[in-house]
Symmetry: C2
Subunit: 229 residues, 2 copies
């Protein structure tokens, strides 16, 4: 689905093996060859600012509703979306905690925040959340996250699939695994929520119907005590 | 899915055979037995007014965006939603045409508007749009529709399934067959749209993942010249 949609936008898609090849090196070499600009998918100030517009919209909506937001949960891969939103909230809603959510086993960002250095995932594949498997934080995103991120949690594939099922059945929204990670953290009580006002980013829905249905069919329902409505 | 969700709201669900039994007679008899009020699902001023709040919201959004709305397409079964929206638009956006959309073979409303009398469907089952198979218009909804509805069109099951696929892939929304009928009419060019501003009601999403996936897997893609984006 992602490949087809990207091609439809006119892109020349070049596939690689994420276990044995380095996508950044491949992209830089193509850029040199074709005299094209290399744009990093997350460790780039413009990309971070662009993704941060989701945080600007969130802050506007929250202000318009007269709500004080205690925390925002954001799916995290390389950290572009999370730090962009964190920058927006720092300016517009400074009391809001920023919680990043990673797939279990791919918690390079949480470990990097703990150690203060850029840590790498030990695996390149193995989560259903294919959008959340960047090998390590970026330099820029890690530096921003060290200042702005207040908490980091993980969710399992099974918890992500349950959140996708919940989004399908209750919210009537299509969400891909990586996009459902923050919702999974909320629904599986990874952070204390009772009495708090929390926002959740659902950040992607590029998934084919067959994969979608098989993930949802195999997913456990969200326990009633954790359901939002 | 509908039965399970209705029970979860605390309802006592009584099943019937739509081909051989009369649900209204059954409900009235239960009402008498239990001294409970009978509330018609569409031929009721309160139900029409309640469903019409979708039209109020639409008119507000359109006004806030400074848009003049040429038409609104609404899925139509008994006509409660369609005439409620038509009443709202008559007051707040009187230049907007009201187009009702029925499944092919279940066009009792279109035929009733043409004849001026309450016509019945010849079949009780046989469309994937299970929410759009009321046997005939209501007295109240037909009287309102004769004054307010400007056009009536039909869509096939295959066109509905294509619209559901489009909603899944492009809008990231879960829509049940009946809820996708108006979108199907738009995407399959049942009314002239180029250069016009048209709103579409997506009016339901009670569908299980297996049925959803199998309908989408079998659906033809929307031709590029009809796609909205």
């Amino acid at each position: 689905m992602k490949i087809a949609r990207t091609r439809r936008f006119g892109a020349d898609v070049i596939l690689y093996d994420r276990a044995s090849e380095d996508r950044e090196a491949i992209a830089r070499s193509i850029g040199k060859e074709r005299r094209a600009a290399f744009i990093h998918p997350f460790d780039d100030a413009g990309v971070i600012a662009g993704q941060g517009t989701a945080g600007l919209e969130l802050a506007e909506d929250v202000a318009a509703a007269g709500i004080a937001l205690d925390a925002v949960l954001v799916p995290c891969s390389g950290g572009g979306l999370a730090t962009g939103i964190a920058l927006a909230m720092q300016r517009l809603s400074p009391g809001t905690g920023i919680v990043i959510v990673e797939p279990a086993g791919f918690d390079d960002f949480a470990r990097s925040l703990a150690s203060g250095h850029c840590e790498r995932n030990t695996k390149a594949t193995g989560s259903i959340a294919d959008a959340l498997m960047a090998a390590s934080p970026g330099e820029l995103t890690l530096a921003l996250a060290r200042r702005l991120v207040t908490d980091a949690v993980t969710v399992t594939d099974a918890e992500i699939a349950s959140a996708m099922r919940y989004a399908f059945e209750e919210l009537k929204l299509v969400v891909e695994p990586g996009g459902a990670a923050a919702l999974a953290a909320l629904l599986h009580a990874r952070i204390p929520c009772p009495g708090r006002t929390v926002a959740v980013l659902l950040s992607g829905a590029n998934i084919d119907a067959t994969t979608f249905a098989s993930l949802i069919a195999g997913a456990a329902p969200i326990p009633a005590e954790h359901a939002l409505m």
